[in-house]
Amino acid sequence: MSIRHARAGLSGLAIALVPLSPGVAHEIVGNRFFPATLGIDDPGVNDELALPTVDSFKTGDVPPVRQRDISGEFSKRITEDFAVSFGSTYTFLGPTDPTAAGANGFQNLDTTFKYRVYKNAEHEFVMSVGLSVDWGGTGAKSVGADPFNTYTPNFYFGKGLGDLPDTLSWVRPVAITGQVGYAIPGSNSTTTFGIDPGSGLATVDTEFHPRVLNWGATIQYSMPYLKTAVVDLGLPDFVNRMIPLVEANLQTPVANTLTSGTMTTGTINPGVIWVGNTFQVGIEALIPINRQSGTNVGVIAQLHLFLDDIDPHGIGKPIFGNAVQPASPFARN
């Protein structure tokens, strides 16, 4: 799932722009294991299930709203390099003002089509492109789900630093991933007609739906990589399975911004992912970059299952083609 805006708003409250969706996909490129990151989607194409992803934070509304989400996403490979994922999120909104009512409900369903364009094991580089569709009208308006579709073409990349020279061997476990998307709402504006209670005159309120640049990146230090490709320090297995990381998850309205403004919002997410053989768990803090992005430090956590490892001959294999490359098993890229 791509970076997405959850327009969380109680009736009459301002719209909060916050990152919500969990990333899905992990990837192995040569020595490098790219984990599924929680904030942005990473460059991998695979069979997996992120369930659940839970988060909690206070939005940038005035007064702020306590938002809690629980979400899941299922990704299925159609071919070795092409996958489709389906995601859904249930949102709980609790106003900090005790006199205001809360709300809860589903966000719009989300579908992402993703194709791995290039993979280079020697340089630990992978690149993918995708299209995410937020299906308008499938969620609840009370939690800010849009009544129109939003289409987001995406570009993803991942680069491990394992090809650095021996003098920089301690930097080799570092990897960088990134995602850039351009969210295009299916509707340019929404017009609401009403009556002014003071004057009794008719009112017209138009909200323009901006086109938004969704951009983010991660920097990771892979302890599994350190142990198996650089130096085995004899650390406990629990430590050797950790990947500390920092994610940046940002949104910038760039067009049709008459009512939204162009301020960038988002969060910086330091955290850690622990990788098992068939699953990973991750937890990150959500640190808003400005007042409009949130009013306190939130938290996000995820359990992520590698279906290709849990059931490699069933649901974990591509529908067309095999996960194996039997024709030339020792051929290098």
């Binding site: 198996t228 085995d232 004899g234 849990i310 490699p312 098993p329």
Partner: protein, 118 residues
């Protein structure tokens, strides 16, 4: 999350815990240890993986500091362990390159170095 939901996930986590589950065969550890130094050239290199291997499609090569291949080419695979004997070599940095097929049909590869000398 309610406590009952947390307890409900425990059997799932136990099911998924590292063990004999089918998964990509990743390098677990090696002897000589990855990135470490040994006093004398080893007689063999042994790699342990996180999964059982398919012997017919698993290989490892070792080159000495001069870039010359010093493994005998006869790779021995037993379960999740793969070994290859080495011909005598000199001091310096040795490069180990491996590629394996796990029993669940996933191919993985990688490389590392170790040092020989005082």
């Amino acid at each position: 999350m309610r406590r009952s939901n947390v307890f409900g996930m425990i059997p799932l986590l136990l099911l998924l815990a590292p063990g004999e589950a089918s998964a990509h065969a990743m390098l677990d550890h090696a002897e000589p240890r990855v990135g470490n130094k040994v006093a004398a050239p080893p007689h063999e290199v042994t790699l342990w993986f996180t999964q059982k291997l398919e012997p017919a499609f698993s290989t490892v090569t070792v080159t000495d500091p001069a870039g010359k291949q010093v493994d005998t080419g006869k790779v021995r695979v037993s379960g999740n362990q793969m070994s290859v004997s080495l011909r005598p070599g000199g001091s310096g940095t040795y490069h180990v390159t491996w590629r394996v097929l796990s029993v669940d049909s996933h191919t993985t590869d990688g490389n590392f170095t170790f040092q020989v000398g005082q």
